[in-house]
């Protein structure tokens, strides 16, 4: 059974149920039940018409639930409403689901969970495993999210920006269960890009493709991080890079620059360099300048300072760091790196150790600890400075 195919059908099946009169929360529950049944039964006996099967089973599940819960009169209305499978409605159900599941009234984590279930077709168990919480907790998070959006009706398309932030979170959070969330985020971004012509949707898709291309080179077999400059570029996925660059160029050609396009442009410049030494740092700095104009995020200025350090030398990089809050994530790591480049190993080692202590994740902490240890060992050797 092709699980990805089944998952891809999910939003359309929810749409059919909603058009037949089910409210979103009940329709989504019914489709989830049908999906779980499909995952169990299709392995041995896949139906010839998967979508038809899902619609039939989900509708039956919905009616069962409705019978259990609603009055006889209400039930009869629903049964009367049944024969209306018909062709596609005027609105794009799948697109509406993206907007609903990323509605601004939801917290980011609720929007992520609901999107993965209703648009992505993942089971509650898979989502719970991916985010390392108990299944019961994730089930509650999702049903609360559904209650929050239950009264929302779209008279016009929602805000694409909220959808993009949700997909970005799914891609970037880095947890992993038996579902590859990065690949799932790319699938959802592709599906969205097929439905809506928007340069930032394309920008985010390009950004994801370009970063995903580097994944085989980003960690060693033991899970330790390989910094960009040390990655084996032969391991980068050239097919994804080619696609990412093409998607980005088409977006940039429309001349409506946004944050994700600018980030993707930076990733594309890295992807374009045959070796780390050949990286076009001056152009990367220019893109960070664009990015700073689009967002006042101090992390952008921190990353820009590192790029300035590469383009104009470490002293210039350190000068560019001045005025930034030292408590910013990765600030100490940037200071350490620039001091090392500047030849001040004592200061660099101290900042690497500081950075390790405040690292937000284990692979980064281990990487930074090794950097500090490497410099300290070098300093202990005669003439090591």
């Amino acid at each position: 059974m092709d699980e990805a195919l089944v998952r891809a059908l999910t939003p359309a099946v929810i749409g059919v149920l909603v058009r037949r009169g089910a409210d979103f929360a009940a329709a989504e529950d019914a489709v989830q039940d049908a999906l779980v049944e499909a995952l169990r039964g299709w392995r041995d006996d896949p139906p010839r018409d998967p979508k038809g099967w899902l619609v039939t089973v989900a509708w039956r599940k919905f009616l069962d639930a409705a019978r259990a819960e609603t009055s006889r009169r209400r039930r009869e209305e629903l049964v009367d409403a049944e024969p209306e499978p018909g062709p596609g409605a005027a609105v794009d159900d799948t697109l509406q689901l993206y907007f609903l599941c990323a509605h601004p009234s939801l917290t980011p984590s609720s929007a992520v969970a609901l999107t993965l279930r209703a648009v992505g077709g993942l089971t509650t168990r898979q989502i719970a495993q991916a985010y390392l919480v108990p299944e019961a907790t994730m089930a509650q998070r999702i049903s609360r999210a559904k209650r929050t959006v239950s009264d929302i009706r779209f008279t016009q398309p929602g805000d694409v920006g909220t959808v993009l932030r949700v997909l970005y979170l799914v891609f970037n959070e880095g947890y992993s269960g038996d579902v590859d969330l990065a690949a799932e985020a790319i699938r959802l971004a592709r599906q969205l890009a097929d439905r809506i012509k928007h340069e930032e949707v394309a920008g985010l898709l390009a950004l994801m493709l370009l970063h995903h291309a580097r994944r085989p080179a980003r960690t060693r077999a033991d899970g330790s991080l390989v910094p960009l400059a040390e990655q084996d570029r032969d391991l980068w996925d050239t097919r994804l890079i080619t696609e990412g660059v093409a998607v980005l160029q088409a977006a940039l050609a429309r001349d409506r620059l946004g944050e994700f396009q600018a980030q993707a442009a930076i990733a594309a410049l890295h992807a374009d360099a045959p070796t780390a030494e050949e990286t076009d740092w001056p152009q990367i700095v220019e893109w960070y300048d664009e990015l700073s104009r689009l967002t006042d995020n101090p992390v952008v200025r921190l990353n820009r300072a590192v790029a300035v350090g590469e383009a104009d030398g470490p002293r210039a990089g350190l000068a560019a760091l001045a005025g930034l809050d030292p408590d910013l994530p990765r600030h100490a790591a940037a200071v350490a790196y620039l001091h090392e480049r500047d030849g001040d190993l004592v200061t660099a080692a101290r900042f690497y150790a500081d950075a390790a202590r405040s690292a937000p994740n284990l692979p980064e902490r281990e990487h930074l600890t090794r950097q500090a240890a490497r410099l300290n060992a070098q300093l202990r050797r005669p003439g090591g400075r």
Binding site: Q140, N303, L362
Partner: protein, 135 residues
């Protein structure tokens, strides 16, 4: 989302405001305390924020490696009750502020006289998986 450990221990924190030992409470007060903890966990499950909660036996054994082919050395238990870790709760919440808010509520569990214990809990963030996009 971020995971936090709410750790109940007695290392370095000042004494609770309502500091009477539990065996000096009335049975009803003990029951009320336990019910509060259960309700708290159930409520967090309902909000989709609960991950885990465990209580630990107060006494443990210290163990260390003692060389190839030798059984590990054990020691303790040590009577230093101020070093005891009593238990923990793990939560998965939207923000650090929310973690502090929940720790504050947990610290309000009723103790002697039915009054909040005001005990000190330590809130520690989990280290996460590394993000994909850092540049």
């Amino acid at each position: 989302m971020a995971k936090y450990l709410l750790l109940k221990h007695y290392r370095g924190a000042p004494a609770s405001v309502n500091d009477a030992p539990m065996d000096q409470w009335t049975p009803e007060e003990v029951s009320a305390h336990i019910q509060y903890m259960r309700d708290f966990a159930a409520r967090l499950e309902g909000t989709g924020e609960f991950v885990d909660s465990q209580a630990l036996s107060p006494e443990g054994t210290f163990v260390r490696y003692d060389g190839e082919g030798r059984p590990p050395v054990t020691d303790g238990p040590f009577a230093e009750t101020k070093d005891v870790i009593a238990g923990w709760m793990v939560i998965d919440v939207e923000s650090h502020e929310r973690a502090l808010e929940l720790a504050g509520e947990l610290s309000a569990a009723p103790g002697a006289g039915g009054k909040p214990i005001h005990e000190w809990l330590e809130v520690r963030p989990f280290l996460t998986a590394p993000p994909t996009i850092t540049e």
